[in-house]
């Protein structure tokens, strides 16, 4: 018998979720109905419900996107990353950028380099990124997201819910000019 076949159903589900989270991937209930799993959707959900009450699986978390609900382990994927990854997975790009900017402005606080969205896990091509920024600026929902241009020409974003314009400007110049050695 394969080693993982000896595990309980709950342990097998947890193992899969933890492993996928390590690689930055969610698991859906649908995946638990496909090979190598043999659960029905009802059985998978029943196991997950039981796991939610089991101390051994307290790391298994649900997160909701616009298109689906996803499972991850916050042992191997941080909650911050999971919130970001929902948008990446569903390619909800406008919300992805806006939420990243608000998070940066409120938590660190810092300005967000537009260029950062060119890299993983966002990997936005410049043309697409420009389009996303245009939509943010045109949307009533994201009026707090501001674009700021450094004296070097580099573009940054911030949320004026959390950062005043003068501070944002100072942070941009610190980053681009003063600390650039």
């Amino acid at each position: 018998m394969a080693k993982d076949q000896a595990l309980t159903p709950k342990a097998r589900i947890a193992q899969r979720i933890r492993s996928q989270s390590t690689h930055g991937q969610f698991v859906t209930v649908k995946e638990l109905t496909e090979a190598p799993f043999t659960f029905t959707e009802e059985a998978a959900l029943a196991n997950l419900e039981a796991m939610a009450a089991d101390e051994k699986y307290m790391d298994i978390q649900w997160i909701s996107g616009q298109k689906a609900k996803y499972l991850y382990s916050n042992q191997t994927m941080t909650d911050n990353y999971a919130r970001l990854h929902v948008h990446v997975k569903e390619q909800n790009l406008v919300a992805m950028v806006a939420e990243a900017v608000r998070h940066d402005s409120s938590v660190y606080p810092r300005v967000t380099s537009v260029k950062a969205f060119r890299y993983s896990p966002y990997n936005l091509e410049q043309e697409l990124l420009d389009d996303v920024l245009k939509k943010i600026q045109e949307s009533d929902e994201f009026q707090d997201i501001q674009v700021i241009t450094a004296s070097t020409g580099a573009k940054y974003l911030y949320s004026n819910q959390f950062l005043e314009p003068r501070r944002a400007n100072a942070l941009v110049e610190l980053r681009e000019v003063v600390d650039d050695e």
Binding site: S21, T22, H23, G24, T76, M77, T78, D79, N80, Y81, L84, H85, V107, Y108, P109, R110, S113, K115, A116, Y119, S120, P121, N123, T152, E164, R166, R167, A168, N169, A170, L171, L174, R175, V178, D179, D180, E181
Partner: protein, 702 residues
């Protein structure tokens, strides 16, 4: 004789005038730990005030410490102590990494004291106990690359060499000593040149003994490796990762899926590098893209670094186009070792770009870096390019250079962004060719000689933090306000202290940083958020003192202060705390002398107070507050429409900085009015003899 633990137990003294080579017992100096501490003690005891940098009476001390050669992470640093020709001949240190330090230890030496002056060019050959002064007439005049190769051709490829280039030989004030092709110590190349000492070659086969067991060392190493981050102890990745709660795009933990050492064969992907994977620590920092932009990925062959360093912060590049300009296609360096050579091209590059990020910028940088290191020219933390820019853009060069000289310089190449200009720049400065070469004198000297305007000393653009000694800001008030400003006041050159900027630049959110600051320095108020400063308080003085004391400790042990102290870690389960007692734990294990964190810090406080006492003696005044600890106007006068301590400015307030000085002086136990060490302070640190000498000279505060 008992075997010395940690220290090799011997100091080498070489008198180049008398050609005598003697050995001394390290025990005489161990209250000063090693490296920097030994250097200050020798300078206090043996070099009288009034001595100038290039006088034969000046000495130059190459120091390593009890950690060097032990394999403790990031411990192969060489500290070089002597008078600083650029900065009013005051005591100062330059530092280099590489493998030279460990090799010196394996040859059985804790320090080399070089004194006197050779009658003709020589180099020093060290092979364990065999030390000889060799004729350097064949290598004098060569660049550092050929000089290193020549010494290795005699000693063998396994030798490690510290050499000067023509800039040092010609006693250009801004000259380096370099080892391993890219590890340079700025400021003392001319002192070696003044002694006709071209190079030191060292080869060692001896052990470094330790007080503890091998198993205990492995355990402590594992602990250190478990909390170590990336370069500058940045503990979050630069892009979001599944394992990371936080990220910061200025983090030097640049590894990510899809980012490669693109010129390796086959290319090496840096990948995710989660913190628990010790085998990928060396992949965390792809410094090529950090220093040059994305363009460097395809040209990065690998990351290099120092002996015993797992971090690897030197990007090793291959840029074939550099050969079109008569230099090697290979270059390695890090940080200002790249940005200074790049910025000599004042008018940008052939493609019209300025700054970094384009291929033409990369080519020019590699050309310039090769030339700077081979000629052996120092940048004074990039101030030389700002001095050049000020003089060029303000038409000063046209006024001060003789017409024939001015017309002989191919300015058209500079204007066109042609890297061929760089040959002219480095040759002229390094060989003291013409008036132009005074750019190498040092910022204070050249600015006075060429009558720079008041704005040079007072405008933020030019970054001259200390207008009296002529050194630039180096993580000053822009880094943690008064803390960075105080650190930048206390040395006699640009501050080589990174304890504070490593902390503020770790990538962690401000609330996490403040919590840790509270644990280390007594209150979260020790740290202000960037561009949201508050007034001075005693906890900031604690932060500043701690930063300097640890910096000094590291340059004495020796450890890399670009990594240590490990104040933070990448681990949420530790609340991102590092382990500030780690130096003391290693010290106790290696030397067999039990010391607490506080006891070891006190030793470092002794060293830094001796530095201050040396400065008082050399300047001939106790009034450090007004004569030495001077800050440029731009720090206070920037953002004229904004009050200090309002959100959105890094502007400081003059009165508050005087309060800051007072609090810092008091934290050090120095005189609160003048900033000079008191008798009580010196006696507390076991340096009553220093107090006696200062008192005899009228240099002890009342």
């Amino acid at each position: 004789m008992a075997t010395s633990k940690g220290w090799s137990g011997k100091i080498l003294r070489v008198n180049l005038t008398t050609e005598t080579i003697t050995t001394e017992d390290t025990a005489k100096y161990t209250d000063f730990i090693g490296g920097m501490g030994f250097g200050y003690k020798v300078m206090w005891d043996e070099v009288p005030e009034g001595t100038k940098s290039y006088d034969p009476e000046n000495k130059i001390i190459f120091g390593v410490g009890p950690f060097t050669g032990t394999g403790i992470p990031c411990s192969s640093r060489t500290n070089i102590t002597s008078l600083m020709p650029t900065h009013n001949h005051l005591i100062g240190d330059s530092h280099m990494g590489g493998h030279f330090a460990a090799e010196l230890k394996y040859a059985g030496w804790d320090s080399i004291i070089v004194e006197g002056k050779a009658s003709s060019p020589v180099w020093l050959r060290i092979e364990n106990d065999s030390v000889t002064i060799e004729d350097a007439s064949r290598i004098w005049g060569q660049g550092t690359v050929q000089s290193t190769a020549d010494v290795c051709s005699i000693m063998g490829a396994e030798a490690h060499v510290a050499a000067i280039g023509p800039a040092g030989e010609n006693m250009v004030n801004q000259a380096i000593i370099i080892t391993g092709g890219s590890h340079s110590a700025g400021g003392h190349g001319g002192v070696m040149g003044s002694k006709n000492l071209k190079a030191i070659g060292v080869k060692g086969t001896l052990p470094v003994y330790m007080g503890g067991t091998k198993e205990a060392l492995i355990d402590l190493d594992r602990h250190a490796m478990s909390i170590i981050g990336s370069n500058n102890q940045h503990v979050v990745p630069s892009t979001p990762m599944p394992w990371a709660e936080y990220h910061h795009n200025r983090s030097r933990w640049t590894a990510r899926p899809g980012l490669f050492w693109g010129n390796a064969n086959p290319p090496v992907e840096t990948g995710e590098c989660p913190p628990e994977d010790m085998n990928s620590v060396g992949l965390r920092c792809q410094k090529g893209v950090f220093d040059h932009g994305d363009i460097a990925e395809d040209y990065t062959t690998r990351m290099g670094g120092c002996q015993s360093c797992p971090i690897r912060c030197h990007s090793q590049l291959e840029v074939p186009e550099a050969e079109e300009y008569g230099v090697s296609r290979f270059a390695a360096n890090t940080c200002v070792g790249w940005s200074f050579p790049r910025s000599i091209m004042l008018k940008g590059y052939k493609d019209g770009s300025t700054g970094r990020g384009t291929k033409e910028a990369l080519i020019a940088t590699v050309v310039s870096s090769n030339l700077a290191d081979d000629w052996g020219l120092w940048c004074n933390y990039n101030q030389i390019s700002r001095d050049f820019r000020y003089a060029y853009d303000n038409g000063i060069l046209e006024k001060v250079l003789p017409a024939e000289e001015y017309n002989s310089i191919p300015w058209d190449l500079l204007e066109a962004g042609d890297p061929n200009f760089l040959h002219e720049f480095y040759r002229r400065v390094s060989t003291k060719e013409g008036e132009f070469s005074h750019l190498g004198d040092g910022s204070f000297s050249v600015s006075k000689r060429w009558n720079f305007g008041d704005d040079y000393y007072s405008a933020a653009t030019w970054r001259l933090f200390n207008p009296v000694l002529g050194f630039p800001q180096h993580h000053s008030s822009e880094t943690a306000g008064q803390v960075g400003a105080l650190i930048n006041l206390m040395f006699n050159r640009d501050a080589q202290c990174h304890s504070h900027v490593n902390f503020t630049g770790s990538g962690l959110p401000i609330e996490v940083q403040k919590e840790i600051a509270g644990e280390i320095w007594g209150s979260p108020d020790a740290l202000d958020a960037p561009a949201d400063y508050t007034r001075m308080n005693p906890y900031k003085a604690n932060f500043a003192k701690y930063s300097i004391v640890r910096n000094v400790l590291h340059d004495s042990l020796t450890l890399c202060n670009w990594m240590w102290p490990l104040q933070v870690s990448p681990h949420k389960e530790r609340n991102y705390l590092g382990d500030t007692a780690l130096e003391a734990k290693f010290f106790s294990l290696i030397t067999g002398i039990e010391k607490t964190e506080a006891e070891l810090d006190l030793d470092a406080e002794r060293i830094f107070t001796l530095h201050r006492a040396l400065t008082v003696k050399q300047m001939g005044t106790t009034d450090m507050r007004n004569k030495h600890d001077v800050i440029a106007d731009y720090v206070f006068d920037r953002d004229p429409d904004v009050e200090p301590f309002t959100s959105g400015t890094i502007k400081m307030e003059r009165e508050d900085m005087e309060v800051a000085k007072t609090m810092f002086y008091e934290a050090m136990g120095w005189d609160a009015d003048t900033g000079a060490p008191t008798r009580a302070c010196l006696e507390r640190l076991g340096m009553g003899y220093v107090a006696d000498e200062l008192e005899a000279k009228g240099l002890l505060p009342a």
